[in-house]
Symmetry: C2
Subunit: 108 residues, 2 copies
């Protein structure tokens, strides 16, 4: 086994899980932190700032890009990565609905 049974869950549940995976590794959290605060969002700078190999950072960037949370812009030989603001807002909405549910019963 070890295979997530996506088909038994709702679309919303699966989407929350997919998006949460983006934040479920500190390297990706660090990348996102960097993209928010830094003036330079060049891939190579991220490799320098975060202490992981270039191949590893590239892989994490790919995952974030696949989820639509960041965009990449080719500038000559380097690539500039930025937060995809529209998708970021969409993501925030999804988590907001999940986080702000009302508790019906709480017996503990």
């Amino acid at each position: 086994m070890g295979l997530t049974k996506s088909e038994i869950f709702t679309d919303v549940q699966n989407e929350i899980a997919s998006l949460a995976k983006a934040f479920a590794h500190p390297a990706r959290v660090a990348i996102l932190h960097q993209l928010f605060k830094s003036n330079s969002c060049i891939c190579g700078d991220l490799v320098d700032e975060i202490g992981l190999a270039q191949a590893t950072i590239s892989q994490h960037l790919k995952e974030l890009k696949n989820l639509g949370l960041i965009k990449g812009n080719i500038e000559g030989t380097s690539v500039c990565y930025c937060i995809n603001e529209e998708r970021w807002e969409e993501m925030k909405e999804i988590f907001s609905s999940f986080f702000n549910q009302n508790i019906k019963t709480n017996c503990c």
Copy 2:
């Protein structure tokens, strides 16, 4: 390899990643959904409502409990699980700071 290098990241980055893992599997999202909306939060009910084996649900509940997001209350032979509201609010604050950062530069 395959070992996350936690020591090169900040405490905040590691905590966000740990908490995000709670939501990074649809079964745990489904469990939390159920605890919010349901009148009954008995472990056995969760097993019935979500289509996974009892051992699997128990394991997911344990992870949520380890993160402090839920509490378990023994009632005879069964166990009632509920959202830990204080911790839930704390978690929301942590994600809120992360989600609502200001973008300094956005060149894409």
